[in-house]
Symmetry: C2
Subunit: 179 residues, 2 copies
DNA sequence: GGATTATTGTAGTGACTGCTAAAATAAATT
DNA sequence: AATTTATTTTAGCAGTCACTACAATAATCC
């Protein structure tokens, strides 16, 4: 079951929600459409489960943003780790959540992705608020925006060096603000 | 004719290339499908012309990146101007080029958008290379990535204050690198 | 083993897509 | 005014989409 979610995740990540038809999913899973709908309900429901699964195993946010860790170091690490993850597998470039959140196709899938995105933003905001409450919102916005930019670069095919260099540079702005 | 391109641009910008059918375009233009194909060739060709039109009138890059202007000031101005433009009309949020470049739907439209995107990146790179040749590539990558992040925020519905604050913060990284 | 239940495979639903052939109308030329 | 040319309208083509009714198969239980 979780294996099926994994293959579906790979498909969605590679081609995007709208470009993946249920025919491609059922074929990759080795089942037929009726079995698919009996198991997952619908394509949208499957995507919801895939997104939640991805949000948990894509980045170790709890470890990166561990309470008490110096914010500048932690957030810089977050950006660089994200950059490396976004290009780790060229067939699954970028962030599935961030890319799905801005896809214009199905509004339901985009809404779900945005919900997960906001959740992650809140993680960053509450982490920063522990030490710099006055700048927590700005830093959270900036971090999400920077990661979205990194995801776009990854999806365009940038190398790990290019992306990590941009991520490190983005981290300097955080250092400047929190100094 | 240019008026027709304008309305088509508005449609594509609001809903994205794939979500806009030729039926919506012909209806907005008050013509029928055959007239549409006689005038524009195809939906993809129309989108190409729309993209080129947009690239010219979206941002005054020539003025912002005028040769001789201090790079830190010019690039910071570019980011902030982009942020304001991305939220100027809530129905046309974000950057049409950047958003279309990462859309997973039609590969032809995405390829064209990426070509325009690379063109803009080159404008930034050559501008920076005049004063800081060693960091031109990094700055160009960073600028495009930051603008892509701003476009994502705009598309999510961020207010102008939020987006401009993030843009200013992004500019600090450029100042730090070019110092 | 025979009857019932659950699962799977086949085939197809209606609604949409970009796009176009031919019919009906308007315009222009002789 | 009559004929030819250009343009618009109607109608529909072939394809794909998410999704499902029904039939054939496999598994379970008495």
């Amino acid at each position: 079951m979780d294996e099926a979610l994994g293959t579906a995740q790979r498909l969605f990540h590679e081609r995007g929600y709208d470009a993946v038809g249920v025919a491609a999913i059922t074929q990759a899973l080795g089942i037929n459409p009726p079995s698919f709908y009996a198991a997952f309900g619908s394509k949208a429901e499957l995507f919801d489960k895939v997104l939640e699964r991805y949000a948990q195993c894509a980045l170790p946010i709890d470890r990166l943003l561990a309470p008490g860790r110096p914010p500048v170091e932690a957030l810089g690490d977050l950006l660089e780790t994200a950059a490396r993850a976004y290009v780790a597998d060229p067939r699954e470039s970028g962030c599935l959540v961030l890319e799905s959140a801005r896809a214009g196709g199905d509004p339901q899938s985009a809404a779900k992705a945005q919900a997960v995105k906001c959740e992650s933003r809140e993680r960053v905001r509450s982490f920063v608020a522990q030490t710099h409450p006055g700048q927590a919102d700005l830093i959270a916005d900036y971090s999400v925006s920077a990661m979205s930019g990194l995801s776009a670069g990854a999806r365009e095919g940038w190398t790990e060096e290019r992306l990590v260099a941009v991520a490190r540079m983005a981290g300097q702005a955080i250092a400047a603000v929190l100094a």
